[in-house]
Amino acid sequence: MKPQAPKRQPYGTLELGLLNVQDLHVAYGKVEVLHGVSLEVAEGEIVALLGSNGAGKTTTLRTLSGLVRLRQGRIVLGGEDITRLPAHKVVASGLGHVPEGRRIFGPLSVEENLRLGGYLLRHDLAEVEKRVHASYALFPRLAERRHQLAGTLSGGEQQMLAIARALMLEPRLLVLDEPSMGLAPKLVFAIFAIIQQIRAKGTSVLLVEQNARQALRIADRAYVLESGRIALSGPASALAADPRVRAAYLGG
């Protein structure tokens, strides 16, 4: 089962980006943590979503993926309304999610992790194997460690595995939640280079980062999330020059 081309639906008068998020309200229990977040990712873009700890970045991504229920709002991916889809169906609609903290399956082998990334293709084993090998071409380190348990990989390798796993279905949009977290500067650089490669191959990217400097360096546009609201947005270069962003996220 290939992720199918979604039914296109006319959607208001808005210019349709690839991802269109409108007025997202999300609560944990009674406490609302997202108060009307709207954002957009166009085809072929890298968009950064910045913000300090607890601003609601992870919640935003988890809501997009259907892991968290929303109170109000609308999420459209490639013309398909995915607002209330369960998580496993959102994946089929073309959204790949590299979660915060990597969340690889530690007791499973590297190769098993990758195959699970292709779970929705399980009726076409040849295709799964083909894509596993394509991952190895992109991440040679993973090929060397294919039979090792994923939990024994280094942090950087685990991050690469998490990314490779999310790419198995060739998503239209890849969302990454703090992929540079806890990595040495050299590895951070490598991860950001990989994200640029992924975009060059035609996958759009929504990148959540605390490492604002690096994120703004590779992003086309960015949003700044503060306490569950979008406080600022614009071209990455403009935000990098904005005194408020410099003060709060770029260390002055």
């Binding site: 994946v91 098993e112 779970y119 929705l120």
Partner: protein, 299 residues
Amino acid sequence: MQAFFQFTVEGLTIGGFYALVALGYTMVYGIIRLINFAHGDVFMVGAFIGWTVLVTLAGTHLPIVLALFVALATSLFFSGALGVVIDRVAYQPLLAAPRLSILITALGVSLALENGVLLIYGPGFLTYPHLLGTAGFTIGGVQISYAQTTMFVISLALMFALYLFVHRTFIGTAMRALAVDQDAARLMGIDVERIIQITFFVGSFLAAAAGMMEGLYYTQINFYMGFLLGLRAFTAAVLGGIGNIPGAMAGGLLIGLLESYGAGYISSRWTDVFVFLVLIGVLVVKPTGLFGERVVERM
């Protein structure tokens, strides 16, 4: 020494039953952290379905082997389906609720199954058709019946098939993945609720196989038979390290052996004391069981 081997043969036979039932406890615990108290009763229902089919077929002129096969297939399939229904009706709605709710529900399901069978079949013992002859062979004075051999081979074959299923198929890999991290599994496109159902099906299927074999072996079944056996099988799962599949297999065989040696060398009245003493002893020394250092992850 001859007695020792004789007890070993007996112990492995019933140990196979325990192992099959223990697998259901351990798999369900592995993926949803539930001690499924109703599991022993699914074993019992499996025995009753098998009995019903066999007794019905006894009137026809079906060859015995074929009748056994039909009974086994029916029992395994419907017990598997029963497991799925229990999961859908009783457990799924409570997965997000506090653990205690679902545990109490499991006790309720157990009572419901026992009383349901009590209502339909009555409180007495039913006699399984005596299909297994006592024919067999002797090695060094140790008597081994063909029935024992066949049942042990069936138990091992089912365990091996399960091992392949869990390690070599996409669905099995998905089971292991969601035992580790449900949300991450969802992000792979895995329909977690469906995989949980499949797990219940497989666990119940194996328990029913044990139920029917127990019926054929001891020839007596009763609505209450799942309670004690369930307790011992659960003990086997804990002994092997709950959540751990090879652990449940080994734990089951071990409990079977302990029971058989206990009954043979001491007294069958002391069997359970013996079994639980060993369990306590193991848990004191190794709280996560024989095989389970990191319980969840060893499925």
